[in-house]
């Protein structure tokens, strides 16, 4: 038993809904197909049953037979028998004029010449198996709840024990508890056959599938083992999807993906929304490449490492300020560097900025050894804890923001002003002449930090090193500044090395956390994981402390 799809293209007229899908599934495999609406997920599911109205090209091998060469009647004999589909439980997914039992009976009798009694017995057995109450067999769809209708749809799909089972949003519009029941039911229903789960619900996908494919604009962007893919997405689109999905295992605030799907563009379909695109992405469609069980269609081989710190050490008078630190920062992600004062966080930041020479180890920026020249500072910028001190008191807002451009002698006078205005707007600051003429002492703490951010942004950096950027601010201003940083990251793909001693803060803003103790990184991993199951005693005690400190701080209850 095998399903092999290669180069499957679905077209409506000139518009390609699926642009060359390659899949290979064997008995026992379960594949989740995730993606935003309009990605072509449902078309792909329907195409496997040859039920889509789109014109299909390519190869669709089911048990060695190319279904695209089958006649309509041959297909009809396969559908509902060897391949079945569970549809989303919408109001009219079941025929309103027949009872639940009648519809399951029909699904059986469509492929079996059995006696009426035998068919009815089988139908009842199926309905019992999917957990429908016996009193409800003879009810009509409008008398059943959403969950019950979903069970009937599942019973119909399982009627003839299909080899291929396609589930199209099988739990959408169900409440959480019903959903949990249905997921449990589906888990047993999907075993021992090929199952395909079409959904935008990542938690559903992760509980039902072993493999996961991310579909965007009709092409598979990334495919791999489900748990692996969720823990460590390698394609920027996958990461964006995961960041927009509320889950219990991630702690960072929800972020979106900039822009929206633009159908029918050339090159990589995701390039208009991608923050790490290159010129080739607009020209050529990336071929899917497989590496260590992960398939990625990206000209850049997935999310690129931006900054690589390799075995960096620094000693001050025999004291190991930084010892053998290795850490990689990827494009568009936030890594929080957490540790107590004196743990070497700031020393590391200074090494990264080229202010201190490391004793050993190397630092790579976009794959090249960092030389701390003008090119380096164009890509890496830093913001500090105390903005008023980091901005010269002799410069007004406009001068402060355009200063990096003046230093690097970039662009004409007009271009520098335009860039400065853009940076101020990006940092959500006013651009009226009055504000531009203000001096640091005339700014509030929040405004000053925004000016510092604008000053960093003016170079269009790829990496922002933020050393305790909000510790001098009051909580409401801090929240706004953090929100701003996350928005900038979503829009521009900015990577942020967020240095803080506050693990509760790190939890909300970072994708990964690296914990530093006495100059070494003692633990590093996805934020949710590190916080849920800290591996190192020091991380555990940090989490413990933060929990005690913040437990008492909550939204006060309403006075009765």
């Amino acid at each position: 038993m095998m399903l092999e799809i290669s180069g499957l293209v679905a077209r409506y007229g000139e518009h390609e809904v699926l642009r060359g899908i390659d899949l290979r599934l064997e008995k026992g495999d379960s594949l989740a197909i995730i993606g935003e609406s309009g990605a072509g997920k449902t078309t792909l599911g329907l195409a496997m049953m040859r039920l889509t109205g789109a014109r299909l090209d390519g190869k669709l091998l089911f048990d060695g037979m190319n279904l695209l060469e089958f006649s309509e009647d041959e297909m009809r004999r396969l559908r509902g028998d060897r391949m079945a589909m569970v549809f989303q439980n919408v109001e009219d997914a079941l025929d309103p004029v027949y009872t639940a039992e009648e519809q399951v009976c029909e699904a059986i009798s469509a492929h079996n010449k059995w006696s009426k009694t035998r068919i009815r017995e089988r139908a009842r057995a199926l309905l019992t198996a999917v957990g429908l109450d016996e009193m409800r067999y003879r009810l009509y769809p409008h008398q059943l709840s959403g969950g019950e209708r979903q069970r009937v749809l599942i019973a119909m799909a399982l009627a003839n024990d299909p080899d291929l089972l396609i589930l199209d949003e099988p739990t959408a519009s169900l409440d959480a508890l019903t959903k949990a029941d249905i997921v449990e039911l589906l888990r047993s229903a999907t075993s021992d056959r090929i199952s395909i789960i079409i959904t935008h619900d990542i938690s559903l996908a992760s509980s039902l599938s072993k493999k996961m494919a991310v579909l965007y604009s009709g092409a598979i962007m990334e495919m791999g083992r489900t748990a692996d893919l969720i823990r460590n997405p390698k394609h920027p689109y996958t990461r964006g999807l995961l960041r927009s999905f509320p889950s219990m295992s991630t702690t960072k605030d929800l972020q979106g993906i900039p822009g929206r799907t633009i159908p029918g563009i050339g090159g990589c379909p995701f390039h208009p929304r991608c923050t790490q695109k290159m010129e080739i992405c607009e020209r050529e469609v990336p071929r899917p490449v497989e590496l260590n069980g992960r398939q990625i269609a990206c000209h850049r081989g997935g999310i690129v490492p931006l900054l690589e710190i390799r075995d960096v050490s620094k000693k001050f008078n025999g004291f190991h300020a930084v010892s053998h630190v290795t850490l990689t920062l990827y494009e568009g992600e936030t890594v929080a560097l957490v540790g107590e004062s004196g743990s070497g966080k700031t020393t590391l930041a200074k090494i990264l900025m080229g202010l201190i020479e490391p004793d050993s180890g190397e630092i790579l920026l976009e794959g090249e050894r960092a030389r701390w020249d003008a090119g380096f500072y164009r890509r890496v910028q830093m913001i500090f804890q105390n903005p008023k001190e980091s901005i010269s008191h002799r410069l007004n807002v406009l001068q402060a923001v355009r200063e990096p451009l003046d230093v690097q002698k970039m662009g004409s006078e007009e271009e520098r002003i335009t860039s400065a205005m853009w940076a101020l707007e990006s940092a959500e600051l006013p651009t009226d002449p009055e504000f531009l003429r203000r001096y640091p002492h005339q700014l509030s703490g929040g405004e000053a930090q925004r000016v510092a951010i604008a000053r960093a942004l003016v170079m269009h950096p790829k990496l922002l090193i933020a050393d305790e950027p909000t510790s001098a601010l009051d909580p409401s201003v801090q929240a706004k500044i953090l929100r701003l940083l996350m928005d900038l990251q979503e829009r521009m793909g900015l990577s942020i090395l967020f240095i803080t001693h506050d693990i509760a803060l790190a939890r909300k803003v970072s994708d990964r956390i690296a914990v530093m103790l006495r100059g070494s990184i003692v633990e590093e991993g996805p934020s949710g994981e590190v916080l849920r199951e800290p591996a190192h005693w020091y991380t555990a005690s940090l989490v413990e402390c933060a929990s005690i400190c913040t437990r008492t701080v909550g939204v006060p209850a309403m006075e009765q």
Partner: protein, 335 residues
């Protein structure tokens, strides 16, 4: 088991409430029929029988009629007499035919029932089937052929089609008789009689079917187009049901719901159409009778015919409603 019984109990109860609506409308019609002639200015006798009839009447006949309708009694007595007479099947006296109105109507009614009943069944069946096929194969040659023809037929007045058919097949080609329901004094019996009746029925029946076909067809086709977009059609396809099952058991059955309602609404329209056609084809049905009664100003006969027609319409509507309820479980339990 007990729950099943309870469910049926529920349906019966609901059906009773709904039946009472029909009873109420029937009573309303009876009362109108009773009140209207009595509300006309002047003597009810004049209103019921008209000046001309009275001139031809002898004083004895007049006295007999007054007694029969209790016209000299107070109104409640008159109503009682009227209802008792109705229950006995007495609709009054037709002075033109010089016999009881009910006897006259009973002579003519079977032909109308035969004509409209057959036309109703044939046009509904053919209309629905053609509509289902046309809708299922939207844009096909079949659909492209049927749709304009039906729209053309639907736009023609019924008597006009009748006249054309009569001229073509009756007068020019001589294939059909020009009038009547059977050959008089031919002494046919058995199969011959049936064939003779069918021969006479042919043209008016075809006309009425053609006229009634178009709206049923168009509505069914439309309903099919909507139903085919429903998600359960995709479910049915994915289940691997045969084309025929999808077309008739699922799409067709669901498309039938609005069509049945519309057919019910069109029953009066069909009956009035039949009345016209009977005159065109000199078919001895209620239409011809009404025409005669109108020209003779035989008011009791006119009233009797109207009452019978209304009762027929109500009955058919009731039957259509019953069908609908059986067809759609959502209505069955929601009523």
């Amino acid at each position: 088991m007990s729950s099943l019984l309870k469910r049926y109990d529920f349906i019966i109860k609901i059906d009773l409430i709904w039946l009472s609506n029909y009873v109420a409308s029937f009573l309303l019609i009876l009362i109108l029929n009773f009140v209207l002639p009595r509300m006309m200015p002047g003597d009810p006798l004049h209103a019921i029988y008209g000046e001309e009839a009275l001139i031809a009447m002898t004083p004895e006949m007049e006295a007999e009629i007054i007694k029969r309708f209790a016209l000299d009694q107070p109104w409640h007595a008159q109503l009682l007499t009227y209802i008792i007479a109705l229950l006995r099947g007495d609709l009054g006296y037709s002075y033109y035919y010089r016999t009881g109105v009910s006897d006259v109507i009973l002579c003519f009614l079977p032909w109308t029932l035969l004509l409209t009943g057959l036309a109703f069944m044939i046009s509904s069946c053919i209309g629905v089937i053609l509509g289902i096929e046309s809708g299922y194969r939207r844009g096909s040659k079949f659909d492209g052929f049927m749709l304009p023809i039906m729209m053309f037929l639907g736009g023609m007045p019924d008597f006009f089609i009748g006249i054309i058919l009569l001229l073509l097949f009756g007068v020019t080609l001589g294939l059909a008789p020009l009038g009547g329901a059977m050959s008089p004094y031919a002494g046919h019996s058995g199969i011959d009689l049936v064939m003779d009746i069918a021969h006479h029925l042919m043209l008016p029946l075809i006309t009425l079917v053609l006229v009634q076909l178009a709206p049923t067809y168009l509505l069914t086709r439309n309903a099919m187009l909507t139903t085919l977009r429903a998600r359960f059609i995709m479910t049915a396809k994915a289940t691997g049901l045969s084309e025929g099952d999808i077309r008739y058991k699922h799409a067709g059955r669901n498309s039938l719901l609005p069509v049945v309602t519309a057919i019910g609404i069109r029953v009066p329209n069909m009956i009035t159409g039949a009345l016209f056609l009977e005159i065109v084809f000199s078919y001895p049905g209620v239409g011809t009778l009404l025409n005669t009664a109108l020209s003779a100003r035989d008011y009791p006969l006119i009233q009797g015919v109207l009452l019978i027609v209304t009762v027929t319409v109500l009955t058919t509507n009731f039957l259509v409603d019953m069908t609908y309820t059986r067809l759609d479980p959502r209505v069955r339990y929601a009523r």
